[in-house]
């Protein structure tokens, strides 16, 4: 696509720096300190789960833990807790591995409406997300320190699923948990360097939406979900 | 050890007792104190107001006055902090560059000198009274002296120390700020005075005369009976 006014703009910038224009060969220096690598370093996967669980209390997020066989039951109980009637979920390739097809079928049989994100339906997906009570996705990378699920949004996992419904459930395979943002950005950086384009939208989501704009009172639930549950699955 | 006293213009004019106390404390811990007569002001009032050229006239006089001193010690974090800025300000001045660095390197605020250079934490003072301490902004943030004053106060026999709420907040002095922006400065010192009152202390102690003039002036205006004392006054009671 087009880039407009770049030459004059950057030449002016360069003139102010009193040196010739740099168009290539700039390398990042070696930074004198790397404090980010020290955070939660050396913790086992189970210890990271504990950190995540503790942080869930800080970010007003319900924490649950189960294994693959127990996942359907925990999901069902969570959806019921939200009095969910309409569910929108990602059509994640992992749905099959985690037995979610059967789960979605079973709650449909119970009379709930389940919509799996479908590229063929175009904007219809968003319309369902708008009226859905619950959105469900997997986490791609999970950050223990901040209680964050990282979502690589794509044609299976629309941006709206984790955003527009009032309630959001993230399924967190235990193996996706890393200490903090550092490991996630490193992974994205390395993939990018290897020539794999980054997702059109990477969403780092830490609990429900909130605001403190009125007299600094914390209000949980503004534009995005009001309630969030994380389900860690031992894989 | 030979020490030259840097009195600071505020102490010279408004509180000669601070100078006396400083001299006596230094002598008590074994220093020989002289007073280079040609010293004037560190230049800060002009420097902070943007009059760098005018400020430098005073700064040069200070460098001349202390040229032959081994150590320069003053009862003010702010004024000594100013001396520490000289090397940056004379960086491109071939005549004064080295002199500026020499003065900065040998200059210390008095509590900093006692604790960090001499290794003295107890100057042998005794003081009865409830004290709260205001750490001045320039002492802590410009000069970087955070602990020395409290270290010394904690060793004063009989002193009852109580923490000043929001102690790190500026009292509103700021040199010419108090005159140029007197309304804002006035609101700041009201807040500081209220915090001092909250402590119920009999004495407000500080290491910078500017802050003490400001806070003391407000306390007096409010008719409060809290006494204002420079830290050397407390350290010289024995």
């Amino acid at each position: 696509m087009t880039i407009m006014n770049r030459e004059s703009f950057l030449n002016n910038v360069t003139a102010n720096l009193h040196r010739p224009r740099r168009t290539e060969g700039v390398e990042r220096p070696e930074w004198s300190v790397q404090p980010q690598d020290e955070v939660l370093s050396g913790l086992s996967q189970d210890e990271l789960v504990d950190v995540l669980e503790k942080h869930c209390a800080v970010i007003h997020t319900e924490f649950k833990r189960t294994d693959r066989t127990g996942l359907a039951a925990v999901l069902k109980e969570t959806v019921e807790g939200y009095a969910g009637k309409t569910i929108v979920a990602s059509s994640d390739p992992r749905n099959a591995d985690y037995g979610l097809h059967d789960f979605y079928q079973s709650i449909q049989d119970d009379g709930l409406e389940v919509h799996l994100w479908d590229e063929k339906e175009g904007k219809g997906n968003q319309a369902v997300a708008e009226r859905a009570d619950v959105g469900i996705t997997f986490s791609d990378i999970t950050l223990a320190e901040s209680g964050t699920v990282t979502l690589f949004n794509n044609k299976y996992n629309g941006r709206a699923i984790s955003l527009m419904p009032r309630n959001y459930i993230a399924i967190i395979p235990k193996s996706t948990i890393v200490p903090r943002l550092t490991q996630a950005t490193k992974q994205i950086h390395e993939a990018n360097e290897a020539g794999n384009d980054v997702a059109s939208c990477v969403s780092f989501v830490s609990g429900p939406s909130n605001s403190a704009d009125i007299e600094m009172n914390l209000i949980v639930g503004v534009h995005g979900p009001v309630e969030v549950t994380y389900i860690v699955v031992d894989d | 050890m030979k020490v030259s006293l840097f009195i600071t213009c505020l102490c010279d004019m408004f509180s000669s007792d601070v100078g006396k106390d400083t001299v006596e404390i230094l002598e008590r811990v074994g220093c020989e104190v002289d007073f280079p007569e040609t010293q004037t002001c560190c230049g800060q009032p002009a420097y902070n107001s943007g009059y760098l050229t005018d400020a430098k006239e005073s700064m040069k006089q200070m460098m001349k006055a202390f040229r032959f001193s081994d150590y320069v010690v003053g009862p003010s974090g702010s004024c000594v902090g100013m001396l520490k800025e000289y090397p940056k300000l004379f960086e491109n001045d071939l005549v004064w560059r080295d002199e500026a660095k020499r003065l900065a390197d040998k200059s210390y605020e008095v509590t900093q000198f006692l604790v960090d250079v001499l290794g003295v934490v107890d100057v042998g003072s005794t003081f009865k009274g409830k004290i709260t301490y205001h750490p001045s902004c320039h002492m802590t943030r410009i000069l970087g002296v955070k602990d020395a004053p409290m270290t010394l106060l904690k060793h004063v026999e009989g002193a009852d120390l109580t923490e000043l709420p929001a102690k790190e907040d500026c009292c509103g002095f700021g040199g010419t700020f108090a005159v140029k922006n007197s309304m804002i400065s006035g609101e700041m010192v009201k807040e500081k005075a209220a915090h001092v009152s909250e402590t119920g202390a009999d004495y407000l102690v500080g290491g910078d005369m500017g802050c003490l003039l400001n806070i003391g002036g407000r306390m007096r205006r409010e008719g409060k009976h809290v006494k204002v004392a420079h830290i050397t006054e407390i350290l010289n009671q024995h």
């Binding site: 770049r6 980010q36 629309g158 950005t185 980054v198 704009d213 | 004019m13 006396k20 500026c170």
Partner: protein, 474 residues
């Protein structure tokens, strides 16, 4: 709106701020919360100074090579289907955005919070071409309805109380519930959801743009930036040119510094990284994407002693510790950028003429410098501004200039110094009573409105020292 807000003089603005008791209480309590949140984060990490060092190194390197990184960024945005417009001025930026709006025949534009769009006065420019612009950040929406400018760069409506918010909602939107913040927010959610769903264009700012991939990253808690980048088919991101980072690895550090320093959170609820247009098969996100990179005076700052002011990541940590801000509030600065960083940046971006008082609106206590997560020497830059105002712009009053000339003579002449200190007491005598000056002359007038001034001591130190020496000798 542009950088400069309103026509009131500095003195009028300060007075209005100082007299606004509610605002001052609200600001003081907000500052308290922000500060303790940030402190908790620093304590938790234990090596906050290392984080600051790293932040400073990253910003320094990036600014020194900003031409390279902006070129890389624009190449990558373009590769991912986005249009990139480099705008030297606010006018150029607004012209381009107007052009996109007209081309799309857009009726409704939904915006997420962005300081740079305030700076360039984008909303007014869009209204000129008939677009309905809706702010979607809760605080910004309240202010938009009330036609009031923001007073803080992170908490824009910090100066308003919930009763005022309720009144605004009632008057402008037919609200009929209580002043409970939860009810007010829930009303805003419903109202704004409809705005999102009917918007033709979404406009966001940009916290950080990642050069290596072309990703524009938005840091929010409410989720409005996600809505604005999910629903409308056309999206425009507007960024100050300095908001670029080399790679995702530096994004990590700067986002971590921002959320900790700004609101004391490990991360905000949403950190959203958008790259170009939606890909094939995707059904949300824009099909038409524009990145507008704004200079508007920033390049002039490069290569000067103020370059590090461009390191700013807009966290407001300096604002949250500033005692001057606490007492006068954001509007007193008369700029979209208030507080210490505003006092540094505003004259750089908009000239000294309208903002020459701002560099003096600081006691130089240095709390801002100490708080800054990327180590901008803010209070030192305020002194540099004062030097320019005095020595280059020559904007200070003649009386002050003469007084400082006098200071130079006094400070460089030991004899004059000695004589004046000796005479100070008698000179002050007419105004002295009980060793106190309660109503001072000339420059002391302002001081003595709120506090007493002491009479000079009976004996100067130097005369005492001299006598003591003589005594010792005899």
């Amino acid at each position: 709106m542009s950088i400069k807000l309103g026509d009131a003089s500095y003195e009028e603005r300060v007075q209005e701020g100082v007299q606004n008791e509610f605002m001052r209480q609200a600001v003081a309590s907000a500052q308290g919360r922000f500060r303790s949140g940030k402190q908790k984060q620093a304590d938790k990490l234990g090596n906050w100074e290392d984080w600051r060092t790293l932040g400073e190194e990253i910003r320094t390197h990036t600014l020194e090579n900003i031409d390279y990184y902006l070129q890389l960024l624009s190449d990558n945005v373009s590769k991912r289907g986005g249009n990139v417009f480099f705008a030297q001025t606010a006018e150029e930026a607004n012209d381009y955005i107007q052009h996109v709006i007209k081309e799309k025949n857009a009726q409704k534009v939904v915006k997420s919070k962005s300081m740079v769009t305030e700076e360039i006065g984008m909303n007014e420019a869009l209204e000129e071409v008939g677009a309905d612009v809706v702010e979607s950040d809760l605080g910004e929406w309240i202010l938009q309805l009330d036609e009031d400018p923001p007073s803080h760069i992170v908490a824009p409506a910090v100066h308003k109380n919930k009763e005022q918010v309720k009144e605004t909602f009632t008057e402008k939107k037919g609200y009929n519930q209580s002043s409970q913040p939860e009810e007010l927010a829930s009303f805003a959610r419903e109202q704004l959801r409809q705005e999102f769903l009917s918007a033709d264009v979404g406009i966001t700012g940009c916290n950080f743009a990642v050069a290596e991939s072309g990703a524009v990253t938005l840091v929010t808690n409410e989720g409005n930036a996600r809505m604005a980048t999910t629903i409308p088919d056309t999206q425009i991101s507007v960024m100050g040119m300095e908001r670029v980072v080399p790679t995702y690895e530096e994004l990590d550090i700067l986002v971590s510094l921002l959320t900790r320093a700004a609101v004391g959170q490990d991360l905000t609820s949403y950190v959203t990284s958008i790259t170009g247009t939606r890909l094939e098969g995707e059904t949300d996100g824009p099909e038409d994407y524009h990145l507008v990179i704004v200079d508007n005076g920033r390049s002039k700052i490069l290569g000067t002693e103020f370059q590090s002011a461009l390191h700013c990541i807009r966290c407001a940590a300096c604002i949250n510790v500033c005692p001057v801000y606490r007492h006068v509030g954001g509007h007193a600065y008369g700029s979209v950028y208030p507080g210490p960083i505003g006092a540094v940046l505003t004259p750089l971006l908009d000239g000294y003429e309208d903002h020459k008082e701002l560099p003096y609106a600081s006691s130089l206590c240095g709390a801002c410098t100490e708080a800054c997560p990327v180590k901008i020497p803010l209070h030192e830059q305020l002194i540099r501004h004062r030097e320019i105002i005095v020595e280059q712009e020559k904007m200070t009053p003649r009386s002050e200039r003469l007084a400082m000339k006098g200071f130079a003579k006094w400070g460089s002449s030991p004899a004059a110094y000695k004589m004046s200190t000796a005479m100070a007491r008698s000179a002050m005598k007419p105004w002295t009573k009980d060793e106190t000056v309660a109503n001072g002359p000339g420059p002391l007038k302002g001081w003595t409105v709120n506090r007493d001034f002491p009479a000079p001591a009976k004996q100067t130190f130097r005369s005492w020292f001299k006598e003591r020496q003589k005594g010792g000798e005899s």
